[in-house]
């Protein structure tokens, strides 16, 4: 009976693994799938980018709302630093440095969270809104742009909101990778999870690389309040 059971189990085992690809082949398929997904997302962000140049113009040419430049530069720098720590985590896992990978992922998460908070509280003016309502004071010289500020508000919140949504999903991915890394799921040879998370995070950075000049730098600054 024991022999029959073992024989049966062997068949079950063979059936289970019959459709599995060799790891190298599976890795190539995973990479291609991820890049195709990211390529599909390009259309969304290019649409927003194009809307910015179509809607933010007047008789004098391309314009932009007068935004807080310091906030923009800080947010950009923080996201860039987070990208550095993410690629550091990937290099660390490739060389078997689990602790360094773990620490780098935590730093990426912290920097990503700071970026998100800077978007919500500074760029969207939530901090000044809270302070103004509670204490009657404001911290920033520029009054934050509002969703109701015509085409300026619509495009600004469309671009920063959609980007922030991707930052949030990236942060969730980092938490998953941290939890799996803690369980020892990644080795020097096999760490697709870390690689996929890193590629996604850098993609979010690439989007901001184009959004930052589009929102803050290109065109003549004009007042936007309706």
């Amino acid at each position: 009976m024991s022999a029959v059971t073992t024989h049966h189990d062997d068949h079950a085992h063979d059936d289970t693994h019959a459709h599995e690809l060799p790891y190298g082949q599976q890795l190539r398929a995973n990479r291609l799938g991820l890049w195709l997904f990211l390529f599909s997302e390009v259309f969304l962000f290019v649409g927003l980018f194009a809307a910015r140049f179509y809607l933010w113009r007047d008789a004098s040419g391309v314009v932009r709302p007068e935004l807080d430049q310091v906030a923009g530069l800080i947010a950009t720098s923080v996201l860039l630093i987070s990208s550095y720590f993410m690629v550091r985590a990937e290099v660390a896992v490739q060389h078997g440095e689990q602790k360094k990978m773990h620490n780098s992922l935590i730093m990426t998460f912290v920097m990503g969270s700071l970026f998100l908070l800077s978007v919500i509280f500074i760029e969207w003016g939530v901090l000044d809104l809270i302070l103004d309502n509670m204490f009657g004071v404001t911290l920033f010289a520029h009054e934050a742009i509002k969703p109701g500020d015509g085409a300026f508000g619509a495009v600004f919140y469309g671009m920063t909101g959609m980007h922030a949504l991707h930052v949030i999903s990236g942060l969730v991915l980092i938490l998953i990778i941290l939890a799996n890394g803690h369980k020892g799921a990644f080795t020097e040879e096999r760490h697709w999870g870390v690689e996929a998370c890193a590629v996604y995070w850098h993609y979010v950075d690439v989007v901001w690389i184009f959004f930052y000049p589009a929102l803050y730098l290109i065109g003549t600054a004009v007042t936007y309040h309706t």
């Binding site: 790891y23 190298g24 082949q25 890795l27 190539r28 990479r31 291609l32 890049w35 391309v62 430049q69 530069l73 950009t76 720098s77 860039l80 630093i81 990208s83 550095y84 993410m86 690629v87 550091r88 290099v91 490739q94 060389h95 040879e189 096999r190 890193a198 590629v199 850098h202 993609y203 950075d205 690439v206 690389i209 184009f210 930052y212 000049p213 803050y216 730098l217 290109i218 065109g219 003549t220």
Partner: protein, 66 residues
């Protein structure tokens, strides 16, 4: 092996520094030159660096040994 590791860390650090300097250059271009084309070129250069050195796009065409 140790040299490879050191080189890998040095590479990502150098790329990060270049990205940071180009970001500051973007701000300077916006203030002093106000050139849309130059700003888009600088952004594209940054994106190429990230896609190649951080996202490793070349791995798409690489055959893995294991």
């Amino acid at each position: 092996m140790q040299d490879n590791k050191r080189a890998a860390y040095a590479l990502i650090r150098n790329v990060f520094l270049v990205l940071f300097v180009v970001s500051l250059a973007e701000l300077a271009v916006a203030i002093y030159l106000e050139s849309t084309v130059l700003l888009l070129l600088l952004a594209s250069a940054k994106a190429v660096l990230v896609v190649y050195y951080f996202m490793h796009i070349y791995r798409l065409w690489r055959q893995e040994a294991h």
